[in-house]
């Protein structure tokens, strides 16, 4: 009897050991997780590590919209050289895993100054087919970031898709973005990972190429390809042009009503 009992205990211990270790590994209460990736790593490191971990989004184009203060001009690079600048916002489709450097000019109150930020696309969105242009990654070059970069600071922004299950309960206006400032010693990528899923890293420094007419392949990080995208129509402009109903909410008088079904009711394109 004792032998049978001991054998049962031994068997149960063998069965329980992997389960308990699994629970310990997946426990969300583990205090310290060593993040191999850091937003302070050189451009391209995070994207390549993401590609090794999950190659599914590799090779996909992701819509990106670069916006900034009024009058800001952005020039993308192609075939090893910068193209003529265009007024922001500039919407393009960029390759996931690529590092894009673009030139920013016509900065407010700083005539003649120019910056060369980089944008690292580390993940993509899974928008409904045909609606990719409506949900670009918003890359906002704020006036403060540009001013700090011109003073010599190095501004890093990790842009993430917020987890809607744990969304911040605050109403944002269209185009407004929640910004969380972290210390220079913190890992911005780790903080963004807590809020959602990081999709891009914007780095704004004051580095300027020594010779714009020379070989810029290294400076442009290989000059990855990009694609033009149709611009999603602005609803406010459509309303102003009379192409879209104002959509004011009808006040209810508290009495039961029957709503008339409208045929061919327009929807947001």
């Amino acid at each position: 009897m004792r032998t049978i009992l001991l054998s049962c205990l031994t068997l149960s211990s063998f069965l329980l050991t992997p389960t308990s270790s699994l629970v310990a590994q997946t426990s969300p209460t583990l205090p310290r997780v060593h993040y191999l990736l850091d937003s302070r790593q050189p451009p391209g490191m995070v994207a390549s590590a993401q590609a090794n971990k999950n190659p599914t989004p590799l090779g996909a184009f992701q819509a990106v919209s670069v916006s900034g203060p009024e009058g800001l001009q952005v020039a993308l690079a192609k075939d090893g050289m910068f193209l003529p600048p265009l007024e922001a916002p500039v919407t393009t489709a960029m390759l996931v895993g690529g590092v894009y450097r673009f030139r920013v000019t016509n900065i407010p109150l700083r005539p003649g100054a120019e910056l060369y930020p980089t944008l690292e696309i580390i993940d993509r969105l899974y928008s409904p087919p045909g609606r990719e242009h409506r949900f670009p990654i918003p890359v906002q070059l704020t006036e403060e970031d540009l001013r700090l970069a011109l003073k010599g600071a190095f501004v890093t922004r990790v842009i993430y898709v917020e987890d809607n299950d744990n969304a911040f309960p605050f109403a944002f206006e269209p185009g407004q973005q929640r910004t969380t400032d972290v210390l220079p010693t913190d890992n911005a990528l780790q903080v963004a990972d807590r809020f959602g899923r990081p999709v891009a890293i914007l780095r704004i420094g004051s580095r300027v190429p020594t010779n714009l007419q020379g070989d810029l392949t290294q400076f442009l990080y290989g000059c990855p390809p990009w694609r033009p995208l149709p611009v999603a129509p602005d609803r406010d402009k459509l309303i102003e042009q009379g192409l879209w109903p104002a959509g004011e909410v009808a006040e209810s008088d508290g009495q039961p009503t029957e709503e008339e079904i409208k045929q061919d009711y327009p929807r947001i394109p």
Binding site: A153, P174, D181
Partner: protein, 456 residues
């Protein structure tokens, strides 16, 4: 402002806009998943389902993708993007007209159809024919290359706002008719049947594609490091002021052993007492003479069941009943008039026995006006409920706990039935909407409730 495609000559094709009206109808049809209590529980709609096509027939990675791939057995019809690309790539070159056709077809498909989401990949062969000096992995294309490298469309639940259903922990109803467990994004209706049975029914789960972005900013640089390079202060280790001494345990309480043991005697034998079990429904007639109950031996009266061999006998009993009402029996005189006697010569051909159980049979359906939305858009939710049961229900309460991404627009709720509306803040910074119907719902009755929310 965007790059003009014709300015740099990189892409001269125009992008086909999606077909709007069919997409709207299909999206509304997808979002409307009626839930029947008697047959189906809480139905959850995936944002859109994909099936492995010839274009995107790569290995499915995550369990969620496997589930989607297995659950959606959508066979792509002729003319879909996948088949067209395969057919065209036989010759190695895709004609321009065919590419545009592929693109247009792909855009016109509903979100749940078998369409490769990488529509950029099939429209241009510029990078396939180039030497790719950048070294970056380029997207697959149809320029004579195998489409096996194309991607399997996937989805991320973080990009969706869900509303409806009943997430864990499930909803429970207290005795004071208040609810517990109505979590954010839950939408349930609870009510009471005629016999007092409390029923809780969740609605279907409506997904809305509405990703919201945020950013984490980190500012570093030389001018900021200047402040930290100089030693502002020195952290000096503080010597412990007092030492806490711990005494050695002098005494120890020893657990006492039991002085005696009370023995419990086991049963020597087990007396079995198995009585015959009664059959439910058997109600034998008591206290009635055989002369009055001449047909007590039939099962229809004793057990409530009708057998085929007793139908003729039952008809005879009905004839007997008519015979028993004879003129020589007692007559009733009322105001000088003789009570009329109603008799029928018709015999019952078939007898149906209906058993109406007390089921929870309120059908609830939740729909949303938009399947995709940006921040600031207004989405209208509509709740349709019907009493699909055979009995009336009362104390019907509909409760919708909104997500943190949705904000109820004041004064936008409308109800087709008389109800009292309550708006209370919830735990995620949004609101919880509650409608209490003032009247009970009879069989076949129903109503509609709609309200507007702003995506924030």
């Amino acid at each position: 402002m965007t790059y003009n495609p014709t300015r740099y000559g990189s892409d001269t094709r125009q992008v086909a806009l999606p077909c709007r009206i069919p997409s709207l109808r299909i999206a509304v049809a997808l979002a409307c998943c009626c839930v029947f209590i008697t047959t189906v529980g809480c139905g959850t709609l995936l944002p859109y389902q994909q099936s492995p096509t010839s274009v995107g027939a790569q290995a499915v990675n995550s369990p969620a993708e496997q589930m989607i791939a297995e659950s959606s057995k959508i066979v792509p019809t002729k003319g879909l993007a996948g088949e067209a690309v395969e057919k065209s790539s036989e010759n190695g070159v895709v004609p321009q007209q065919e590419l545009l056709q592929i693109r247009t077809v792909a855009y016109n498909q509903p979100p749940n159809a078998a369409v490769a989401s990488e529509t950029y990949a099939t429209e241009d062969c510029e990078y396939c024919n180039s030497s790719n000096p950048s070294g970056y992995p380029l997207p697959p294309c149809a320029c004579g290359q195998s489409p096996a490298g194309q991607l399997v469309p996937a989805w991320d639940r973080q990009e969706y706002i869900f509303d409806g259903g009943d997430q864990e922990p499930t909803v429970m109803i207290r005795k004071d008719w208040s609810s517990a467990g109505v979590n954010p994004t839950d939408t349930v209706v609870y009510y009471e049947t005629e016999t007092g049975k409390v029923c809780v029914q969740p609605t279907n789960r409506v997904p809305i594609y509405a990703p919201r972005f945020g950013s984490v900013r980190q500012i570093a640089g030389v001018f900021l490091a200047e402040r930290t390079q100089g030693a502002m202060r020195v952290h000096q280790p503080v010597v412990a002021g007092s030492i806490e001494e711990r005494d050695v345990v002098g005494t120890m309480a020893q657990p006492l052993a039991p002085e005696g043991q009370q023995q419990v005697h086991l049963l020597d034998a087990i007396h079995e007492n198995i009585a015959g079990s009664l059959v439910d429904g058997i109600v034998p007639p008591h206290g009635m003479s055989e002369a009055r109950v001449a047909h007590e031996g039939t099962e229809v009266l004793a057990l409530g069941t009708i057998t085929d061999d007793e139908i003729a006998e039952l008809g005879e009993f009905i004839q007997n009943a008519q015979t028993w009402v004879a003129p020589e029996s007692l007559s009733i005189m009322m105001d000088g008039q003789v009570a009329g006697r109603l008799s029928s010569a018709k015999n019952p051909a078939e007898i149906y026995v209906y058993e109406i159980r007390d089921k929870c049979a309120l059908r609830v359906c939740k729909t949303a006006s938009h399947s995709i939305a940006n921040v600031g858009d207004t989405v209208r939710f509509t709740l349709r409920f019907d009493n699909a049961g055979a009995k009336a229900v009362r104390n019907v309460v509909l409760s919708d706990n909104l997500s943190a991404r949705l904000q109820y627009i004041e004064g936008s709720q409308q109800s087709s039935v008389k109800s009292s509306f309550t708006l209370t803040p919830n735990s995620v910074g949004s609101q919880k909407l509650t409608w209490e119907l003032e009247e009970s719902l009879k069989t076949g009755e129903g109503g509609t409730i709609s309200f507007d929310c702003r995506v924030r």
